[in-house]
């Protein structure tokens, strides 16, 4: 790294960083103004053919994934990497070098220094005790000119900026891992149905899950004013050689299985109805799908039933009118609330338990992102790094004893110099009390 050529210093420069950050900021605005990922015809319609051509050539319809925008992000990354490699060794040295080796003449010339008239024959141990109680990490060096006790605090502060810069790279790497090894997809899964595939966002190509997912039910709770309060899907994971596993998901509480996460995203209401009939003989539950105003048969029991009418609020059914006939007995008709349970007399005596509800499909957002933990790690590093960079400073003090009757105290800090001056005065006061 010693033979710095001009290319190297270009990539290590703050100028490049300022250029890249500004360029990203300004160009990023484009994507917030031009609608993204629309069909080409829409741009032609909205902006005219020439402008639409420009949009196409420069990928402005998908600008955050365009070659030139990713190029800018790449340039920023290269800049961060090379700038860090360029400057890190100096910072590491400043952080780790034993400060007691510094020449006494240099200490005497420091901007912040103080001389304390002291007793004769001062022991460095007394000075050290005062400093140690204040939390300074100490090193000592004795020469013919006297003893130098060097103390430092907060030396990790110098790493803050590298932590912040590295955190951005960690986030980028996490995002790339997610992009190349993960997927974003979605699936509409009607109640009672099973899927082993989901469909990739954008090009809709099927992705194998490696297991099966069943939608047991979907429900919506409403507030009194009719706004949706909660969407809940009951899901069951079916995997070869494993016991089925059921859970409920809602918005903000997804299901995670084998690194794939299922998010409650949307739903669709059907004109079909889901019936659950419990056989009084053995308690088994039998599920049927009944389209609106069509007959459904339960052959074993010689039962015919169906939905003859329904009441709805917007597209949500609230009450269902059911027609039910067993064998040659008289058919019965009755209303149940959506998802309500009704007992229906049977020929054999014990009643059937009947549950009916509108059929929904749950809309699931499906994501696999093996890089997300790196992104979160990057977030943590960034906040920690910003804290170290801005709220801590590398403070150093030197105390020279053994020069006749005086004790020389000097100090410096790489940031927040006014704050350090106050600390320094407190320290010299303490030493004065102790030694004078």
């Amino acid at each position: 790294m010693k033979d710095k050529n001009s290319v190297w210093s270009f990539f290590a420069s703050v100028k490049l960083a300022l250029f890249t950050l500004s360029a990203i900021s300004i160009t990023a605005i484009i994507g917030t103004v031009i609608p993204q990922n629309q069909k080409f015809g829409l741009y032609a319609q909205q902006y005219g053919d020439t402008a639409a051509q420009v949009i196409k050539v420069l990928d402005l319809h998908d600008m955050y994934g365009s070659w030139w925008f990713l190029g800018l992000l790449g340039l920023l990354s290269a800049n961060i990497i090379i700038c860090s490699i360029d400057r890190f060794p100096t910072a590491w040295k400043q952080m780790t070098t034993d400060q007691s080796g510094i020449a006494i003449a240099k200490i005497e010339k420091m901007a912040l220094s103080h001389r304390i008239p002291a007793r004769e024959k001062l022991s460095p141990d007394e000075v050290k005790t005062v400093l140690k109680n204040e939390g300074w990490k100490l090193t000592t060096k004795t020469s013919d000119d006297g003893t130098v006790i060097a103390g430092q605090k907060g030396n990790w502060s110098r790493m803050g900026v590298y932590l912040v810069h590295t955190s951005m790279l960690v986030i980028f790497i996490g995002a790339m891992i997610g992009h190349f090894f993960g997927f974003k997809a979605s699936v509409f899964l009607p109640e009672t149905r099973v899927t082993d595939k989901v469909y990739a966002a954008g090009h809709r190509s099927p992705i194998d899950l490696g297991f099966e997912l069943r939608c047991d039910f979907f429900t919506i709770d409403f507030y009194d004013n009719g706004m949706a309060k909660k969407y809940v899907s009951g899901l069951t994971v079916l995997e070869d050689g494993k016991a089925p596993f059921s859970t409920e998901i809602a918005v903000n509480t997804p299901l995670k299985h084998n690194g794939i996460t299922f998010y409650q995203a949307s739903y669709e209401g059907y004109k079909d109805f889901v019936f659950k009939l419990t056989d009084p003989a053995d308690g088994t539950v039998h599920t049927f799908i009944a389209p609106f105003q069509e007959q459904v048969e339960w052959k074993d029991k010689d039962i015919v039933f169906g939905v003859v009418n329904a009441e709805a609020f917007r597209d949500h059914v609230t009450r269902i009118k059911i027609w039910f006939k067993e064998g040659n007995s008289e058919p019965v008709e009755f209303w149940v609330d959506d998802n309500g349970i009704q007992e229906v007399a049977s020929v054999s005596g014990a009643p059937y338990s009947l549950q009916a509800k509108q059929m929904y499909a749950t809309g699931l957002q499906v994501a696999k992102d093996p890089g997300v933990w790196l992104v979160y790690l990057g977030f943590f590093m960034m906040l920690a790094g910003l804290y170290f960079s801005f709220f801590t400073s590398h403070k150093r003090v030197w105390i020279v004893t053994g020069q006749g009757r005086e004790v020389l105290v000097a100090g410096s800090a790489n940031k927040n110099k006014e704050g350090f001056e106050k600390n320094f005065t407190t320290l010299t006061d303490k030493l004065t009390d102790k030694l004078a």
Binding site: V14, L18, L21, S25, I29, A228, N252, Y263, V372, F390
Partner: protein, 282 residues
């Protein structure tokens, strides 16, 4: 007494405090009304805090039960709260009241917008997507950042006014009572650092929330993109300050540019562009 009455009282008290702080600046009446300005501002902040708390309680009474941080009205009220809290912290820290004339009016304007514009003030239930504890973390962190940037912008205005007049300041004049340019510059920079850290936390909590609700932590939604643009503007400012030694007027202009970006992220995006944060516009 309900929350809207308390918030109304707050609005007028911020107006009164603004006048007191401007009075301190114009008539150099710190000795006479300085304590009163601080007192009324602090009192209004306490009343506002109770008002926000009461609105939270009222939401439970209505059977909705949610933090009062979820629509335009509530966010503007919280923005004003954060500006005043940040300003009072600064006043206590640097022991000067003149800056109040450039900070408290922002809080009053925000409250006036909340109270008198057509934004919906009703306590409405939360959409399922908004029912997350990350909502509180996200809104609180963002608005602490925005408040610090607002105060930094006020300080920058003060800096630019004072530096334009330059050496022609008559001793004893209005501008003479403003802290020295060096002091204003320093506080502006520190406010921006403070805001930057909170904005960072705001973007991060938003990303984590989006990931738990939709499975994607970043989708280049206009609001997200604009928050990143704002973040970059302040990142550039901190870099030129730290590595190229910029200070004074140039930093003041960048601080104003940053605040314009904040306002656009917060307000402009909701009304001029469309995206995930559309619920914030009602």
């Amino acid at each position: 007494m309900d929350s809207s009455q308390l918030i109304g009282i707050t609005t007028f008290t911020y107006l009164f405090s603004s006048l007191l702080y401007v009075g301190i600046l114009v008539f150099k009446a710190e000795r006479q009304v300085g304590k009163a300005a601080t007192f009324f501002t602090l009192a209004a902040l306490i009343i506002q805090t109770i008002g926000i708390g009461l609105r939270w309680y009222e939401s439970y009474e209505l059977g909705i039960g949610r933090a009062p941080l979820t629509n335009m009205y509530e966010s503007v009220v919280f923005f004003a709260w954060a500006i005043v809290a940040f300003y009072l912290f600064l006043e206590w820290k640097i022991k000067t009241r003149v800056i109040g004339a450039f900070a408290i009016p922002f809080a009053f304007l925000a409250m006036a917008y909340a109270s008198f514009s057509s934004v919906n003030k009703a306590i409405t239930p939360l959409l399922p997507a908004l029912q997350s504890n990350w909502l509180i973390a996200h809104v609180v962190t963002c608005f602490i950042g925005y408040a610090a940037f607002a105060v930094a912008a006020g300080l920058s205005l003060m800096y630019l006014v004072k530096s334009t007049v330059g050496d022609n300041i008559r001793p004893g004049s209005v501008l003479d009572s403003i802290p020295t340019l060096k002091v204003i510059d320093d506080i502006t920079y520190k406010s921006m650092i403070f805001g930057f850290i909170w904005l960072t936390a705001g973007i991060i909590t938003g990303a984590i929330w989006a990931n738990s609700a939709w499975g994607t932590y970043w989708s280049w939604d206009p609001k997200e993109t604009w928050s990143l643009i704002t973040w970059f503007v302040y990142a550039v400012t901190l870099h030129v300050r730290y590595t190229r030694g910029w200070s004074g007027k140039r930093i003041a202009w960048l601080s104003l540019l940053g605040f314009i970006s904040v306002l656009f992220t917060y307000y402009g995006v909701n009304f001029l562009l469309s995206g995930l944060h559309s619920y914030g516009s009602n």
